[in-house]
């Protein structure tokens, strides 16, 4: 069996979530990595993808129409390449979730999103009800279309492979959608999805000013990414791309420090696979304390600065 993996790139680099998708795909068969982007990005990413162990072949699709990984042209491209592949795989990212269901519909396949475990070539485990239940589903489709929950598969290493690179003749057009602009707040911090440590804040912070002034010194000390609960984002304390949870980002760092986060189900669904969880909360009954390895009950405005100082 041969598996086609959509590999996402960012500034010519392979996204870590896509490395996890490659790892998942190697459990199913030989991996062909499809890299898309404008000509320069696709070229750079194809060179990197060829070095990833487990990748048997790289398909390089460079064209302006693919520059922003919009769903319409990328899905058409995948369908045009789908041929004999047994599985088509991407990471469960904003791009993967946008592109793969569209491609699946065009292939008359029911996609299987957020795969957490691969049982066999047809059978997969995925979360339902915000992660409150895990369903094992078996597909009767001839071709399987999957998105992979990146935190459940280790990212494939960057070096060690030497795959051949084939250029794809891109003929797809996009007549219905057009990229206008993007707003990507820049930060020197690690990305949430790949950070080793995450400091995350919730309702208890009380304001955008507090969110910054309390969490930043601690995050700086730990070299941590900063996350937020949905309440904190909805209240304007933090940018939406910081949101951790079922409807935000799914993370699994080595250390997750939840500050003033009560622990709603949908937040827990996004971080409960973290290796070590610390909860700092004034409410000893908060659900977050039921999943935390270390719980410190106290006033976060005193505790967090003290912790930053002690590190």
């Amino acid at each position: 069996m041969t598996v086609l993996v959509l590999v996402e790139t960012e500034a010519g680099q392979i996204r870590q979530a896509s490395r996890s998708a490659i790892t998942a795909a190697t459990k199913l068969g030989d991996v062909h990595a499809l890299v898309v982007g404008n000509a320069a990005d696709a070229e750079a990413a194809a060179t990197l993808a060829a070095k990833v162990p487990g990748v048997a072949k790289v398909l390089k699709a460079g064209a302006d129409v693919l520059a922003h990984e919009l769903a319409e042209p990328v899905a058409d491209l995948i369908v045009s390449l789908a041929g004999d592949y047994s599985h088509i795989v991407a990471a469960s990212t904003a791009v993967g979730k946008n592109v793969l269901p569209r491609a699946a519909a065009l292939l008359d396949v029911q996609p299987i999103p957020d795969v957490m475990a691969i049982v066999d070539a047809d059978t997969f485990v995925r979360p339902i009800y915000a992660g409150n239940a895990l369903a094992t589903v078996k597909s009767s489709d001839a071709k399987k279309v999957l998105t992979i929950r990146a935190t459940n598969f280790d990212p494939a290493p960057a070096e060690g492979g030497s795959a051949s690179v084939d250029a794809v003749n891109v003929t797809v057009q996009d007549t219905v959608s057009r990229f206008v602009s993007e707003h990507t707040p820049t930060s020197d911090r690690p990305e949430l999805e790949s950070a080793r440590v995450i400091v995350s804040g919730g309702r208890g912070l009380g304001s955008a000013e507090n969110f910054q002034s309390v969490l930043t010194p601690l995050a700086d000390k730990l070299g941590a990414a900063i996350g937020a609960s949905r309440v904190a984002v909805d209240s304007g304390y933090a940018e939406n791309d910081c949101q951790v949870g079922q409807t935000g980002k799914i993370v699994a760092p080595e250390l997750y420090i939840a500050v003033g986060i009560s622990g709603a189900i949908q937040h827990l669904a996004g971080m409960k696979d973290s290796k070590v969880i610390v909860a700092i909360n004034k409410d000893a009954e908060a659900p977050m304390l039921q999943v935390a390895d270390y719980a410190l009950v106290g006033d976060l405005f005193e505790v967090v600065p003290e912790l930053a100082k002690a590190l």
Binding site: V99, A105, F179, N240, A292, A295
Partner: protein, 249 residues
Amino acid sequence: MKILVPVKRVVDYNIKVLVKSDGTGVETAGLKMSMNPFDEIAVEEAVRLREKGSATEVIAVSIGVQQAQDTLRTAMAMGADRSILVLSEESPEPLAVAKVLKAIVEKEKPDLVFLGKQAIDDDMNATGQMLAGLLGWGQGTFASKVEIVDGRAEVTREVDGGTETVSLSVPAIVTADLRLNEPRYASLPNIMKAKKKPLETIQATDLGVDMTRRLTTVSVAEPPTRKAGIKVGSVAELVEKLRNEAKVI
């Protein structure tokens, strides 16, 4: 401009579902059912566009069992003008739903279809994208802002690094994310008025759509639970534990 809004009847978001002891699914009998929260946002956005004068008619559609008409009445109480109930088994798969919606779109010829980005029961996050694919329309998924500019739909999307804005030719598909708007509560007079709004019922089989499931649920299990750890009494103790016990700092 006509807007079609598909809505799904799901277990209310405030209820924590339990896995059936025989592992065949989750227990839904007797639970409070509501409109999928993301679909409420989609209804709200469509109604706002009509109130602003950008849209002329909002049509709600639901695919499922007879009781889904309650969900459609809610949509009409929020402001949808009329509804279509497509009767089928409970919670068909997104591929089948997308095919039913395609048939409805061909009949009603809407300019926009607004959907919730995902249903909170199966968490598939697929129907909007699949419908867009089947129709060959543009898709503005995970939308936090929708504007009609010179006859095109300008959609700001929530993506991993922040937001992205795309411009779509109309007709187009939009799927609603949480921050698109805050849905209104239906007022009592509007709930009463909704009872008199037209609700058409059709059979999925009459649309000639193959509803056969492609996925079989082998089993449903509880996720592994995380055991509560220990309470630490001070910052010093926390730092000591993180250093010497957990070894993560």
